[in-house]
């Protein structure tokens, strides 16, 4: 779109770019600074002016992190929980979404509205009884405690239903039925292959949410051996309050895996997010 009389260096454009650059800088700077502090000796951190360039002590600080928390165990726990929940959410939510989008059954719309309404309910409301149920099941200090309650969620059902409604024509369903497909077969062989973009976005959202979850794991995972990485970080921060360099080295190492996952799928993710909201 070329507008006559607007030069490339017009004040509006300069301000626009300046604003973009400032916001980008503010967005990225904490990541950088986390590494800067994490790579200095603690005594160097406690000086004025603060360090602005990376130092040479990162591995020493990392070593201290490994001494203080079970870092790799915590990462593995996070990976197990996130992967299991993501797989379950993708399966159950797409299956429910398919049912709501393409099958006809009584009270379908009412049940769907109910599911949407549950998104309003804050998770803390049922915190205490949930804790009691988990403890009755003997799942305190077990990853089951965070995996099982999160295996399906309202947002995922809503998301998959919208996508399946918008992208899969009913004619395709009819064609499949004439060929003798059962409902599950329709879901598995016709719907699933066509909703991969929506699955990728939902999968990534779910994975990141579980990875970053804090309150519920804090309540049910008390033993160090089952801590997820966020809970482990919290212990690190609580117990060794003074050693900022070590704490931020740990924070940096805990952020890198999720950063890599995100950057790998970022294009898919952001376009999925944009498309998905258009369809509402």
């Amino acid at each position: 779109m070329k507008e006559v009389g607007v030069k490339w260096y017009s004040p509006g454009k300069i301000i626009t770019y300046l604003l973009l650059i400032i916001i980008t800088f503010l967005s990225i700077f904490p990541f950088y600074w986390m590494f800067v502090i994490g790579s200095h000796h603690t005594s160097a951190v406690n000086k004025f002016p603060p360090a602005m360039l990376p130092g040479a002590n990162f591995f020493e600080n990392a070593g201290k992190v490994f001494d203080n928390i079970q870092f790799f165990q915590a990462i593995i726990n996070s990976v197990i929980a996130s992967t299991a929940i993501t797989a379950a959410v993708l399966f159950f939510c797409s299956l429910s979404g398919f049912a709501f989008a393409k099958l006809n059954f009584k009270w379908k719309n009412g049940l769907f509205v109910f599911i949407i309404a549950t998104m309003m309910v804050p998770s803390q409301l049922g915190l205490i009884p949930s804790y009691m149920i988990i403890s009755k099941l003997g799942w305190i200090n077990s990853l089951n405690a965070i995996i099982v309650p999160a295996m399906v969620n309202a947002f995922g059902v809503f998301w998959m239903r919208q996508y399946i409604m918008a992208t899969i024509p009913n004619e395709l369903m009819d064609a499949g039925r004439i060929d003798g497909c059962s409902n599950f077969r329709l879901y598995w062989s016709v719907v699933l292959p066509s909703v991969r973009p929506a699955m990728a976005t939902l999968g990534l959202i779910t994975f990141m949410n579980v990875w970053n979850d804090f309150l519920w794991p804090l309540v049910v995972l008390k033993d160090r051996s089952v801590h997820t990485i966020q809970i482990a970080l919290r212990t690190l921060n609580g117990a060794y309050y003074q050693d900022f360099a070590m704490i931020l080295a740990g924070t940096f190492m805990a952020t890198v895996p999720i950063l890599i996952v995100f950057l790998m799928f970022s294009k898919q993710f952001i376009s999925g997010l944009t498309e998905g909201s258009v369809k509402n």
């Binding site: 973009l20 904490p30 299956l95 009884p129 970080l233 805990a254 995100f262 952001i270 909201s277």
Partner: protein, 316 residues
């Protein structure tokens, strides 16, 4: 007899196609309920039951070791009439929510407009960059910002010293704490909201603007009569979402101010108070009452917000 034949022709009960549709409808019912059942089972066990049970516990005085004692509405009465901490937590929560949400949504809107303007190059990169904070865990954010907002060696106080401003005790003061926590929320969610707004902006049909231009509408008129009304649903969505999120703020104050919310309770939010009552002081009954009040506040506040944001339209 002849009418019977006619009827049969209209609804051929024994023909294969009728049989098929009947069978299909039964099949759909069975698989439909089966496929949606996982949500209802999980939500039933970990959603509905706990909510109802929380209500029941809230009528009791109960620490996990002793026996439950039925006290009726005593917990609620205590909460509203004789608990300064509750009002403090409520005030803190609203203050932090207000300081973080208003600038955040406004900034997100501007950012979305910028990212949607035709001349900006490198949109992919900027979209990615502003979204990046959202993938960082709250715990990590709180630790980093704790370092940035440190009184003695914090980078922010260092920057302020250039302007001749004395070091501010962010952690120890009421406003300092609220500003620090709000900035964590803003940092994490501004880009996310900008992307959501961007999606809404891109979904507005271009010919609406063309028609407006032909009718001689100015840029400002286009903004207030086309753009804002068209993205209104998204604005409502983000306001409701940040309200729910803001009322539940927990990890940031816990990490920044410590378990009790600091020496002056300046970082004590509703959820932090709930957590402390339940899992530190073991007063499950009282904590359950807090949980229910928190829930009602969220519903009420969401409705008020819905009402207020709906009025954006009547600005036309």
């Amino acid at each position: 007899m002849s009418s019977n034949v006619n009827l049969n022709k209209q609804q051929p009960a024994n023909s294969p196609s009728y049989k098929k549709t009947w069978k299909q409808s039964t099949k759909d019912h069975i698989s439909g309920y089966l496929y949606i059942s996982p949500f209802f089972i999980i939500f039933g066990v970990f959603g509905v039951f706990p909510i109802i049970f929380t209500a029941w516990i809230s009528f009791h005085k109960w620490n996990i070791l002793g026996t439950k004692e039925f006290v009726g509405l005593r917990n609620y009465q205590l909460l509203f009439t004789d608990d300064p901490l509750f009002w403090k937590a409520l005030g803190n929560t609203f203050s932090i929510w207000f300081i973080s949400t208003l600038p955040q949504l406004f900034l997100a809107l501007i950012l979305a407009f910028i990212l949607n303007s035709a001349f900006v190059k490198g949109k992919q990169f900027f979209r990615l960059a502003v979204f990046l904070p959202n993938i960082t865990s709250v715990v990590a954010v709180a630790i980093i910002f704790g370092a940035i907002f440190g009184q003695q060696y914090g980078i922010l106080n260092y920057l302020l010293s250039f302007f001749g401003i004395e070091p501010i005790n962010w952690q120890g003061t009421y406003w300092g704490t609220h500003l620090a926590i709000s900035s964590m929320v803003m940092w994490r969610w501004t880009g996310y909201n900008a992307i959501i707004y961007l999606a809404a902006l891109q979904s507005i049909p271009k010919d609406l603007y063309e028609a407006a231009r032909i009718d001689g509408a100015s840029k400002a008129q286009q903004l207030f009569h086309i753009t804002i009304p068209m993205i209104r649903p998204m604005i409502i969505f983000t306001v409701i979402l940040s309200t729910i999120g803001g009322m539940q703020i927990f990890a940031e104050p816990l990490m920044f101010s410590g378990p009790g919310g600091g020496a002056m309770d300046q970082g004590l939010t509703m959820t932090l108070y709930l957590y402390e009552e339940a899992f530190t002081r073991n007063s499950f009954g009282y904590a359950s009452a807090i949980a229910w009040v928190l829930f009602l506040i969220i519903v009420l506040f969401s409705l008020v917000n819905l009402f207020v944001t709906r009025r954006i339209k009547s600005a036309e």
